[in-house]
Symmetry: C2
Subunit: 385 residues, 2 copies
């Protein structure tokens, strides 16, 4: 096992009716900016619950954070934070709202010239406005980690940053608030959470059997409850387990002390930026091909995955690996997420563009061993057509 530091101070308030608890989590005198998306929280009753919990408090609202939150939009919120002396941010929405709020929190206190540097140059974030979250869409894990992904629309740059300064102080996870989500978003969330686990698990053996088993536990749970919660939004128990699994998939737990990959995410981000394909869907396109193309360096873990997660024990090494990848693909498709570029109307002409963009970003040695070069990315995308 590699040395590691594990520290995750986010307070999780999980279950029915927990939105009411935010009243005691946010300092009484705070000047709050409620950050949210396009209005779904009015339809599903979350907005009313938040208003009730914060009755009598100083709450300003910022609406309109997009899926794949845009730098241009977020900078308007930064102006409000600065000009109105906001000292607490409350994200109410899905991963995009959370990620956007983390960026607002960091950018509002950024002391450099241009907050874009937080993303483009990984300028250090030494301070941030405190933030909390009410999560309404299980998928990204942003509710219990330090990561955020932001898109600059004018240049189609989709970039991430990470800082312990933007850990949410608390996150409310009430599965009931997610029951009205369209199935498409549930399918996307399942693909997203599943891939988060694979990025930390399907690398090479590192003497970490507990992290392996935790990762397999999340995958098995997603396989068990994913199709159920996709098909039946009325099943609270299945939804609750999906929500908790998605949080656990990217909160540092399974990644502690082990190598990590993330090449699938880097390629996926380019597909979203270029073709506006939902994040979870890009991962479902890239992951099966990524595993297939890189089967040599991932062999031991792929065979373990085949056996422990899918119960595949018959056939040669390659046959078991192929069967496991096929199962993975079929699982994504079973929750309504197509796994081929062609299903999204994207053809081979995009491949050199993606390769060129990654190269321009210096992303020419991705993956847990730094061996995912432009030629490998090309092969992966050809396999994904």
């Amino acid at each position: 096992m590699e040395n590691f530091t594990f520290h995750n101070p986010v307070r999780i308030l999980f279950g029915r009716g927990q939105i009411a608890a935010i009243a005691r989590e946010i300092p009484a005198e705070a000047r709050i900016l409620l950050v949210t998306g396009g209005g779904s929280i009015k339809a599903n009753g979350v907005y009313d619950q938040v208003q009730q919990a914060l009755a009598g408090r100083s709450v300003r609202e910022f609406w309109g954070v997009e899926p794949n939150p845009r730098y241009e939009t977020l900078m308007r919120a930064v102006e409000i934070v600065r000009s109105e002396g906001i000292d607490f941010l409350l994200a109410v929405g899905g991963g995009s709202v959370l990620d956007g709020t983390k960026f607002i929190a960091a950018a509002a206190r950024f002391e450099g010239d241009d907050p874009w540097d937080i993303l483009a140059r990984k300028a250090p974030v030494t301070s941030a406005v405190p933030l909390g979250a009410v999560l309404t869409l299980p998928a990204t894990g942003s509710e219990m980690n330090t990561n955020a992904v932001v898109t600059r629309w004018e240049t189609r740059d989709k970039l991430y940053f990470s800082s312990t300064q933007v850990f949410p102080r608390f996150s409310v996870l009430d599965p009931e608030t997610t029951l009205s989500l369209p199935p498409r978003q549930i399918g996307n969330g399942i693909a997203d959470a599943f891939t988060h686990v694979c990025e930390q698990y399907l690398t090479y053996p590192a003497g970490a059997p507990l992290q392996d088993r935790f990762a397999e536990s999340i995958l098995q749970t997603l396989i068990e409850v994913g199709p159920k919660t996709y098909a039946d939004p009325g099943d609270y128990e299945a939804r609750a387990s999906f929500v908790w699994a998605a949080t656990m998939a990217l909160n540092g737990l399974i990644g502690a002390g082990v190598p990590q990959d993330w090449a699938t995410h880097m390629v996926g981000h380019e597909l979203t930026a270029l073709h506006d394909i939902d994040h979870g869907r890009t991962l479902a396109i890239v992951l099966p091909s990524m595993l297939s193309v890189r089967r040599a360096s991932k062999r031991v873990k792929l065979l373990q995955y085949a056996e422990r997660v899918w119960g595949i024990t018959a056939g040669s090494d390659d046959e078991r690996i192929d069967a496991a990848i096929e199962k993975t693909r079929a699982f994504f498709e079973s929750v309504g997420v197509p796994t081929r570029l062609s299903a999204y109307g994207v053809d081979a002409t995009t491949i050199p563009v993606v390769v060129e963009r990654l190269t321009a970003r210096g992303m020419v040695a991705l993956g847990e061993s730094g061996d995912v070069d432009p030629a490998t990315v090309e092969k992966v995308l050809v396999t994904s057509l």
Copy 2:
């Protein structure tokens, strides 16, 4: 799944050489009290590493915290904290030192008349001296939770308290510092960690498949690496996985949103208090009998345990449960932990004494369903003879 709050802000510094990191974790101006046991940290080099890390700092030392730390001893440390203006406690040792340090932290700031009330009357702990830990014995999970168990020697009372005020700020887990431990303590630690999981897992189904699988992951890991690390202290990788598994067994993760038992612990504490049997050993005595006697109410989870953890699929329900309990017993014995009272020279005369003591404490309705009454405890202990 039940509603829950999960919050664990302990910073874990895991791996070789991590003791050096405490220098930056403890405020520079702190007046530190180093709390430790009987001298093993001088033999294994840990004391030197701590001294080196804290060179030039204000460090007072308190030696002599016993296994099953005694109230009388700890109160002497409380006097030092108060009289010398100590404002940071550094526990260096195993679970007993950690538990003792938590009590010192709470007692030194206790505003009531008698700090014993923290244990005996569950008097609320509203403040505590900040503390950190260097763990040298994997077992109790105290390094990443809010619990502490303290014994009042004069009355043989072994009682616990729990407060978020005594979360360690950080805990260093360097597996190398545990390699010199005698095998007996490793066996005890394995039994302790294994039982911690069972107390949270072997109850009744609660719609929490991920927590179940996480629990099974820890058990499987203990089964895999336990006998290895018991037999070969030179195997760093096995020891590292055991250390991490023991921490995960009792840090709130697997207990979030599910019912919990803890009857085995309550009975075990009496056996330690009466007969000075090591904590982990008392659990190994009680757990198999507890599972056997309460098989009706635990049936579904016991069958799941039999299949998923031990691979037992043949036979009637009772046969599979018996086989799983027998495997559990054999596992404890395989790491040098006897599972019968007779092996410790204790006979049936102790049974009414234990029952009477639990009754006097009001512990007459233990377990996840409150159905462990004095008659059940008696049956369990008869089965443990």
